[in-house]
Amino acid sequence: MNRKVKFCLNGTDIEIEVNPRASLLDVLREKLRLTGTKKGCNMGDCGACSVIVNGKTTHACLTPAGSVEGKEVITVEGLAQGDKLHPLQEAFIDCGAVQCGFCTPGMLLSAKALLDQNPAPDVEEVKEALSGNLCRCTGYKKIVEAVMLAADRISGRVARSESILPASEPGATKMVGKRVKRVDALEKVRGEAIYASDLNLEGMLHARVLRSPLPHARIKNIAATEAEKLDGVSAVLTAKDIPGENKIGVLGGPFKDQPILCSDKVRFVGDAVAVVAAESEEIAAEAVELIKVEYEELPAVFDPVVAMAEDSPRIHEGSNVVAHRKICKGDVEEGFRKSDVIIEGTYKTPFYEHAYIEPEAGVAEVDAKGNITVWAGTQFPSDVREEVARMLALPFNKVRAVQTKTGGAFGGKLDISIHCYIALLAFRTGRPVKLVYSREESIMASTKRHPFLIKYKTGATKEGKLLAVEAELIGNTGAYLSYGPAVLTRAAVHATGPYNVPNVKVDAYTVYTNCFIAGAFRGFGVPQVAIAHETQMDKLAEKLGMDPVELRLKNAYAVGSVTSTRQLLEHSVGLKKTLEKAQDIAGQWRKEVDNKSKDAVKKKGVGVGVMWYGTGNTGHPNPSGAFVELLDDGSALVLTSCAEIGQGSDTVLAQIAAEELGLDDIDRVRVYSGDTLTPYARGTSASGQTYITGNAVRLAAIEAREPLFQQIAQDWGAVEENLYLEAGVICLKGSDKKIPIVDAIKRCRSLGILTMGHGSFNPDATPLDPETGEGKAYATYSFATHVAEVEVDTETGEVTVQKFAAVNDIGKAINPTNAEGQLEGGISLGIGHTFMEEMVLGNKGTLQTSSFAQYLIPTSKDMPSEVSTFIVEEEEPSGPFGAKGLGEPASVPVTPAILNAIYDACGVRITELPAISEKVFTLIKRGRAIVI
């Protein structure tokens, strides 16, 4: 029953009528429409809902509205005074502490509560104060720096205007390479950025999905009448209500294997069977309970090795082994025969959850003309458009996908999630429909990283020259493919690591099971193989008595190397530079490590991990397009469907356009992205947006300015090639002729000439031969070497990463702050994957890790006390200003470096992840037993 509650909200006394049992979070978001406070879990586990109540940071999701009677509540909306930002908000922008922004409001409030009580905290105190606020993107480093900076500014220890960013070189006006502030940071720190769950349309219905409780079963009957009869229910839909294709799959073509709604069979616990739209979430939830589905349970299989057997239960029509990618170069048998040493190893990785803090959400609406719009978080708006159109049997141009601010994705929002359900419901009911997954549903239904079982054999000479690599990779793709075969292909291509190996044989199998769906996850199979090849390299170094970095340097790719798909690397191979830098760092750290006291409980060690990563899709076309228009006042519009998911593409694309257009103020460029009414763009994946969409924008910008150059050259009687743009002025080489760009535009307009351009770019790659894998897998590659120093508590098996350094060759860093942010976030992801993350299925295929209380991701306190990042800029000629990819390379070498450091510290090889303390402890004990 509702009741009046009086409290002070952001300095204003208010009285509202609410259900006192409702959470303060729901009251803020639904009743007061203050959507800056975010819901990431509704269970107290993520901190996205943090507000300040009576001076203390508190979870709004765990605060009953009735209990705030008479209290003082501050939300993110109360931080700024009009246009004047709170010093914390300013510092978050200045330090680059904002990426996807979903954790930002909660972070700001926890930080404010700290600074209000303790104006001069130290780093440890800041980490402690933020330890209840999960961030999946940033790795916390810049957030902690921002809080420290704000503290200094508030107390006057540094002047407000004092920039913490290194000054750019005098005279340099170029936008590329500059630490430009993120174009979306302001709205994010103000809590004004609109994520899909913040949307509220007039007359909107709320949806809910009925999911299978069984891992494998035939659907015998679905009875929906009870649900339909429930007051407030508008529609209960099943597969038969889908007018078009009931098949989705991001790889397209024969790889579309996932029903939007299952009709004959369910294949994992969480498979969708029916959807409901109702007047409220509560009614929709109740209606779902009333749908009765009759199942006939089928034998299920969860282990991919078992699933590969001929007599194993079939998950789809054909064999469970859906794809077999082969790479074959030279003669491995011969290679092993010639080898002086052979190292073998088996490696196992688990399912990982992306754990973006924003659960999947969206709203769909059909207009009077039958056009349908889907607003939702996604990494791939163009694919949303196409899948929805196919499902509804509509022409693609009648469907518009608009990407709302996306609160982290990491590969998990490339696939269709809520999109088809809401579109179908909106189409059938004629009303707007909203669907927001709970954290539990998000974990259950979204894709995961493929668990790999890797058998690896390396052969080398006694001098340490690699002669042969043979690897078998089995990837568990779960119930549906998603990106499965592409993940296994990329893994196969990268399986040797960035090392010259004359003889290679790789077999990679994509296997169906009744587990959840595995898809893309920041690395696409490469993190898994990197664990194997880097452990192998360390084992080899040990056996040969060589320094591990020396061994790698000896075999490292350089310009002129030929990969295992027989691709000649022609340029931009900065691997050795990363290795050399890492060698310095590792050497320094090793010197400082003191493990002399034999019986010390805590042992330290240093390890390195290396990776290479091809930018863009493997051997497949994946083009992006863009439009650029230069407007009368000299400002510019950039249009592309490229999805900004927190990684910073909007900012980088703005910088690229500004650079080409000679604009020296980022605010003169507006990037309008993620909307399919703009040109097609590939999904935000494979670390390709800077390289691919960046190139498209660059080409569009060049075309947009082209008429200006033509006209002015003609006016000046000069050659167009001699014109250049600087700081908003067109100049002529070797002369003092100048015209401000605005005047040049005016001049063109007076002649009826518009200044706009389009661009598209497709990376230069060729399909791989099905038998040998031969082909140009990628247009360009990034390289990295990471270094970890760990301390192992040999009594408990607990491992602490104390220092971490990432050295990445990313080509030109368009925005160094963004690049560091990617690296720091990649490090935290790797730390989570190494030590604590693992999706666990019970024996009936039910989820044991369905919340953030069980699926743990790193907090601020789990990050090393020292994190340093180094960027090697080995420029890629085909990239925009020399750029290549970074997002995934940021994370790939983290686990290998840590695992090698653990071995260095205590002699324990972790070959099965995660390295939870129990496992480390058990292995240490076992090792001791052997010694005794």
């Binding site: 049992r21 269970m43 107290g44 765990l62 009953p64 330890s131 030590f835 666990v840 069980q854 907090t859």
Partner: protein, 298 residues
């Protein structure tokens, strides 16, 4: 009392009496709610809501932390943050300040109460082992009157205590440590921030005038049985003995052999057993050192 009807199913009690009346009236249908950091997630997870929620957070006078002579008294609404920051507790019962400081996250500590931590009766409850080591008691109030129960005997199993639905914990109390006594809390978890214990342990030691011989010991471990438990075998080994690595080893080995943990998602039984030994010896060591230093602070 008619207020209740108008207030529907949520009762924001303004006094102990009001809370007790509501509990008495609705019995099994009612549930006390304090910081709601356990209760709300539980209700959401299971979909089972109590018909009457009796929110006691507006009973201002229950947030106290004070020392009455030798006895430290903590009101039922004192939060983990309150206790962690309390000079009285830091001085007189460091183990409890330590445990409260390691509960969940700042947000959880700012809302979660010690009484709620006890009443939630999780085998892993961090403050429970600290309170057991302190020999703490709970003051339990109902319309029928008051009773006192030792924390160590309050737990019946996961989520179960000796309290009935009409009873309220109003206070936790224990004797403050004397000079020559020391206490410590240790916790092992899967990550460094915001995590439930795989195993936790607390130790209280009282040394004789020589500051070498253990006169009395109370040692508790969590997450190794259906409830937090006292490990008498370890206490018996220490009592009357001179404290040294040898004794500590013996005591912690005895504790390891006494506990009967299970496998779950946070850890296997074997590991928990071994960690019981490690954590108990760390706790004893830290407590001894504090006792010998004469103040029981860090």
């Amino acid at each position: 009392m008619n207020n209740d009807i108008k207030m529907g199913k949520y009762i924001l009690a303004k006094s102990i009496e009001e809370a007790l009346n509501a509990l008495d009236k609705y019995g099994e249908k009612a549930r006390v709610m304090a910081g709601s950091t356990d209760l709300l997630p539980l209700m959401r997870r299971t979909g089972r809501e109590s018909e009457y929620l009796v929110d006691i957070t507006a009973i201002g006078k229950l947030s106290y932390i004070k020392q009455d002579g030798e006895v430290i008294k903590i009101g039922a609404l004192a939060t983990h943050s309150d206790v962690n920051e309390s000079p009285v507790v830091k001085k007189g019962a460091f183990v409890l300040a330590e445990a409260c400081g390691m509960v969940g996250s700042p947000q959880i500590r700012n809302r979660g109460t010690l009484a709620g931590n006890i009443m939630n009766a999780s085998p892993a409850a961090d403050t429970a082992v600290a309170l057991i080591a302190l020999g703490a008691e709970a003051k339990i109030t109902s319309k029928k009157g008051e009773r006192i129960e030792k924390i160590e005997s309050i737990f019946l199993g996961p989520g179960k205590t000796t309290l009935n639905s009409k009873e309220l914990i109003t206070e936790l109390r224990f004797r403050a440590l004397y000079p020559g006594e020391g206490s410590a809390f240790c916790k092992l978890a899967k990550r460094k921030g915001m995590a439930i214990s795989i195993v936790n342990a607390a130790a209280f030691l009282s040394l004789d005038e020589s500051r070498a011989v253990c006169r009395d010991a109370r040692i508790a471990v969590g997450s190794v049985a259906p409830t937090p438990v006292r490990v008498k075998s370890a206490e018996d080994i220490l009592t009357g003995q001179e404290l040294g690595e040898n004794m500590i080893e013996k005591a912690s080995l005895a504790a390891r052999d006494e506990v009967k943990p299970i496998d779950d998602i946070r850890g296997g039984a074997g590991y928990r057993r071994e960690m019981t030994k490690v954590l108990i010896s760390s706790a004893i060591r830290a407590a001894t050192e504090r006792a010998q230093r004469g103040n029981n602070h860090e």
